[in-house]
Symmetry: C2
Subunit: 194 residues, 2 copies
Amino acid sequence: MQQRSEETRSKIISSAIRLFSGRGFNAASVDDICAEAGISKGAFYHHFKSKQDLFLSLLDGWLKTIDNAIEAAKDKPAPEAFTQIAEAFPYIFKTAGEGLPMFLEFWLQASRDETVWQASVEPYRRYHKYFTALIKKGVDEGSFVAVNPELTARMIISTGMGLLLQSLMDPQGAKWEKVARDSVKMLVDGMLKK
Amino acid sequence: MQQRSEETRSKIISSAIRLFSGRGFNAASVDDICAEAGISKGAFYHHFKSKQDLFLSLLDGWLKTIDNAIEAAKDKPAPEAFTQIAEAFPYIFKTAGEGLPMFLEFWLQASRDETVWQASVEPYRRYHKYFTALIKKGVDEGSFVAVNPELTARMIISTGMGLLLQSLMDPQGAKWEKVARDSVKMLVDGMLKK
DNA sequence: AAAAACAAACCAACTGGTCGGTTTGTTTTT
DNA sequence: AAAAACAAACCGACCAGTTGGTTTGTTTTT
C-alpha cells in the first residue's frame, strides 16, 4: 500500500529534479516528468496538487539537508565547522539524480515567484546569520583574527554560489569539488591567527 | 527611415532585457516583448530572425561591455586595475532598463543551450585568464604576495557572481554595490604585501 | 518642384502545435 | 473493498513563427 505509493512519489521527485535542473522549471512539462518517471498523469496529480506544489516540496527537502549539515557541525570549533560544512557542500548542491544542480533553479524561482521567495528567504537569512555567528565564535575562541564577520560570511556564501555557477557552465567532474574545498581552505586560512 | 528603424530596434532590446531578466527567456514570449515595446510582431521579425537570435544579440552586446571594462584597466598596476574593474561591475551587471540583471539568464541559457554556450565559453575563459594574469602581474610588480593566482582568480569571479545572485533574491538598492566594493577590497587587501 | 516608383519598415490576423491542469472511468495492488 | 495507479480525452490559453498587405520615407524621373 504505502510501499508502492512511496516508490511512485520518489520516482516523480527524482525525475523532476533531473528535468527541472536540466531544462528549468518552465521548460519541463508535467508530461515530460511523467514520461521520465514512467508513470501516468493521474498518478502525478494523486501525489502533488500542482507543478508548483511539487517544486515547493523539492525546495523544502533541499533546505532540510542544509539545515542538517549545519546542525551536524554545531558544536565543533569554528575552523573545523567550516571545513566540515565545505565537505558536505558537494552533496548538498547536487541533490540527486544526474547530479545536476537544482540550486540555481530554486534561487531563480525565488527571485521571480513570490511564493517560492517566501519559502526561501527565511532559511537564506538564517544561513547568513549562522556563518556570521560562526566567524564571531572563531574570534572569541581566539583562532580567527578580528575581520568583518558580516562581510566575510557573505563572501563565503558568495564563493560557494559562484563556484557552483561556474561548474554549471564548465562541468569537469570532480574538479570543481576540489576548487570548492581549496577555496574554503584559503578563506579560513586567511582568517586564522598566524 | 533609419531613424525610425533604429528606434524600434532599441525599443525591442530594452523591452527584451526587462522581460528576460524579470521572467526568464522561456516565460517571456515574443508577444509580451512586442506588447511591452509597443510594436508589432512583424516589426520584431523584421529586426531579429528569431527569439534566440535576439537573445544572442543581447549576449553579444553584454560581453562587449565586459571587454571594454577590462580593456580600460589594461595598463594600470594590478591593485588599481582590480579596483577599477570592481567599480565598473554595477554597471556591467545591470545592463539597462529597470536595472534587473540579465547576467543570470545568460549564464543559465549557456548551461542549457549549445549555441549560447558556444558564444559564452571563450569569453568566459578569457576573463579567467585575464584575472590570473593580472594577479601574476601584481606579484611580479612586488605589490601582491605569491598566492595561487589561478585559484584566487576563480574566487574573485565567484565572489562577484555570488554577490549578484544574492542581490537577486534580496534586492536592497545600492547596498549590494557597496558589499561588492568592500569584497573586492578585502580580497585585494588579502593579497597585498604587508 | 511635382509625380511616380521603390524598398525598407511595419502591422494585424492567422497557423499549427504545445502547454498545464483536470476529469472520467477502469484496472491493479494491497 | 479501499487505495493507488492508469489511460484517455478534454480544455482554454498560449506559444513562435508566417503571411500578405499597408504605411513611410527616400530616390528617381518627368
